[in-house]
């Protein structure tokens, strides 16, 4: 502690005393236990609302509506039965189609684009990237009216394929960014070999580069799937009974059922579960994807 005051002023690299082991060893101990407890408390605090939603979904309505929160109760599956009997299946199907097809389309369109942008000598690379990301920043609400009018004109309102097109366009910019950053990690000899042999570009893309970048593709697919599954704005504005997705079901469930919290909690838990499970399983891919590949 006595040394602390005078060395603080000096730049850190002026440290020359080579006694690393002694001080490092002293750290782990009581301090780490305390911080570990703090971390656990904060983690539980952040998780609590989700836990509460899941707990409430196993309660009866009477038990869910109490002034004093109840942690001990006799669980029931009645609310889940009610949700499943209300026809959530078709909404799940719509969500699954919109998510899976749009993610496949994003990968098919985005991979070649990211490949083109990751070749070094291309001019205007940053302009193209800039353009792609800037489309993501534009307020989607300003585009919804023409999209609505256009979809109506070609009789594609309340059609799940309209959602597929919109979700593909919505996710493509970030996907191109992510995949380009993953491709930049590929050894440049591999890319140049693929580039030189123009006629066999597709083959080398498939056989040489794809295996190297497939973890990145998985990360990209995961992020795009999360955004597509959770998307609400397009879904609520251009779908009705036929093509509505899970988020729209959840909102519709509120207005038709009134405020029955246990039931809503069951519906919300079902709606949320796929993405939460996927995110838990693929945490590392999540981080890589969310940071646009800036983080390995």
């Amino acid at each position: 502690m006595m040394a602390a005051t005078d060395t603080l002023a000096a730049p850190p690299r002026a440290a020359t005393r080579p006694t690393p082991a002694i001080r490092r060893r002293r750290r782990p101990g009581i301090g780490n236990v305390v911080w570990g407890v703090v971390a656990w408390l904060v983690g539980i605090l952040f998780f609590f609302p989700v836990l509460w939603m899941v707990l409430s979904s196993f309660k009866t309505e009477a038990a869910a509506y109490t002034n004093v929160p109840q942690f001990v109760f006799s669980p029931t599956l009645a609310e889940y039965r009610h949700v499943f009997s209300s026809g959530v299946g078709s909404y799940f199907l719509n969500s699954a189609i919109a998510t899976v097809v749009s993610v496949v389309a994003v990968l098919l369109l985005g991979t070649p684009a990211a490949f083109a942008l990751s070749l070094r000598p291309i001019k205007k690379t940053s302009d193209a990237l800039f353009f792609f990301l800037s489309t993501k920043m534009l307020p989607i609400v300003a585009a919804i009216i023409p999209l609505f009018v256009a979809a109506e004109a070609v009789h594609m309102l309340d059609n799940v394929w309209t959602l597929v097109i919109l979700y593909t366009a919505m996710n493509l910019p970030i996907a191109v960014w992510m995949m380009r950053s993953f491709l930049l990690e590929v050894p440049s000899e591999l890319l140049e070999a693929a580039e030189m042999d123009g006629a066999r570009l597709w083959r080398s893309l498939r056989e040489v580069i794809l295996p190297v970048v497939s973890p990145g593709l998985a990360a990209t697919a995961l992020i795009c799937a999360i955004f597509a599954w959770n998307e609400f704005f397009f879904a609520v504005n251009i779908t009705a009974a036929r093509a509505a997705t899970v988020p729209v079901f959840l909102v519709g469930f509120i207005s038709s059922q009134g405020l029955y919290w246990a039931q809503l909690a069951a519906a919300a838990t079902i709606a949320t579960l796929p993405v939460v499970l996927a995110g838990w399983v693929a945490q590392r891919q999540l981080v890589r994807g969310l940071s646009f590949g800036a983080i390995k």
Partner: protein, 311 residues
């Protein structure tokens, strides 16, 4: 043709001179499908929006459509509610992004230490980000902020008395929900930044007797700068367009006290059916966003191109 059959035998220079145009096209062609798709689906509508904004057009009155020039913009400029929505948008975006980043940095520092069950805590902490936004907003509105059986009132009631959060503090309540959702995102980015930090420098400083806070300020924060910038820009992209939370929790109310621009434009278009006016607002928002986005993108661009060259 011969060059195509035996490319590896030909020196690179020969190929380049053979036909630069062909090579550059083979490089650019893979970009085109994605580019065309994005332009058609996301850019053309904006151009159409500009055209709509010059018309007076109400969807519930067929045949009401006529060219009115800039009249809609004059209306937007004098619309007090629009200005409120603009201020709300700025407050909500800045508040959410800044606060969730500050909490995110703190949590990341906490998680960067070794302790029992660290990966479980990380899993608990990222969950809010994964919850469907509509479900999260519903959860906060119903189970957390409810005036009679909400958890927030149960916990804070004894301290601050009975408060109807969503009508007393609508914007702040929405912000709390959004901070809850976005903090994990910030934490993950910063945590990855922390873990990419060279440990020897920190250890040397620690050996030298520097206090932990000094190490954090002098070494860790500068290293984290580009991760923080990335988180702020990406977070802002999504938060500025936030619709779900407001739709679910407050419907923009009471009055317009928690209405942001996306929700206001939505209201005018889909509840008021006023295409011309909402299009004009859309264009104004668009222009503002382009301005802000240009500055923000430059910011992450400098830190990222810098990074690539260094790597």
């Amino acid at each position: 043709m011969t060059a195509v059959t035996a490319p590896s035998a030909v020196p690179v220079g020969t190929i380049r001179s053979r036909s630069t145009r062909q090579v550059s096209w083979s490089r650019r062609a893979p970009l085109l499908p994605a580019l065309v798709f994005v332009v058609v689906v996301t850019q053309v509508p904006f151009v159409v929006t500009i055209w709509y904004s010059l018309n007076s057009w109400n969807l519930v009155r067929p045949g009401s459509r006529q060219f009115v020039g800039l009249a809609n913009y004059v209306h937007v400029a004098t619309d007090v509610q629009f200005r409120t929505a603009l201020v709300n948008t700025v407050v909500l975006t800045a508040g959410t992004v800044i606060i969730s980043m500050v909490i995110g940095v703190a949590l990341a520092v906490l998680l960067d230490r070794k302790f029992l069950g660290r990966s479980v805590v990380r899993t608990l902490l990222i969950t809010p980000f994964l919850v469907m936004p509509v479900a999260a907003a519903l959860l906060w509105k119903t189970a957390m902020f409810d005036p009679t059986f909400g958890i927030v009132d149960y916990v804070l009631g004894p301290l601050v008395g009975h408060v109807v959060w969503l009508s007393r503090f609508p914007l702040a309540s929405v912000m709390v929900e959004m901070i809850w959702q976005w903090t994990p995102f910030m934490m993950l980015l910063v945590l990855a930044g922390l873990q990419s930090m060279p440990t020897d420098v920190v250890e040397a400083a620690g050996v030298d007797g520097a206090r932990p806070f000094a190490i954090f300020r002098e070494l860790t924060l500068p290293h984290l700068r580009r991760y923080i910038e990335l988180g702020v820009v990406l977070g802002a992209i999504y938060v500025v367009n936030e619709f779900d939370s407001i739709y679910m929790m407050t419907q923009g109310g009471p009055g317009v006290s928690s209405t942001n621009l996306p929700y206001y434009i939505y209201e005018r278009a889909f509840l008021g059916f006023d295409v011309g006016q909402s299009a004009a607002m859309g264009v104004v928002v668009l222009a503002g966003t382009i301005l802000v986005a240009t500055i923000a993108l430059r910011l992450i661009f400098t830190s990222f191109t810098g990074r690539e060259e260094a790597a």
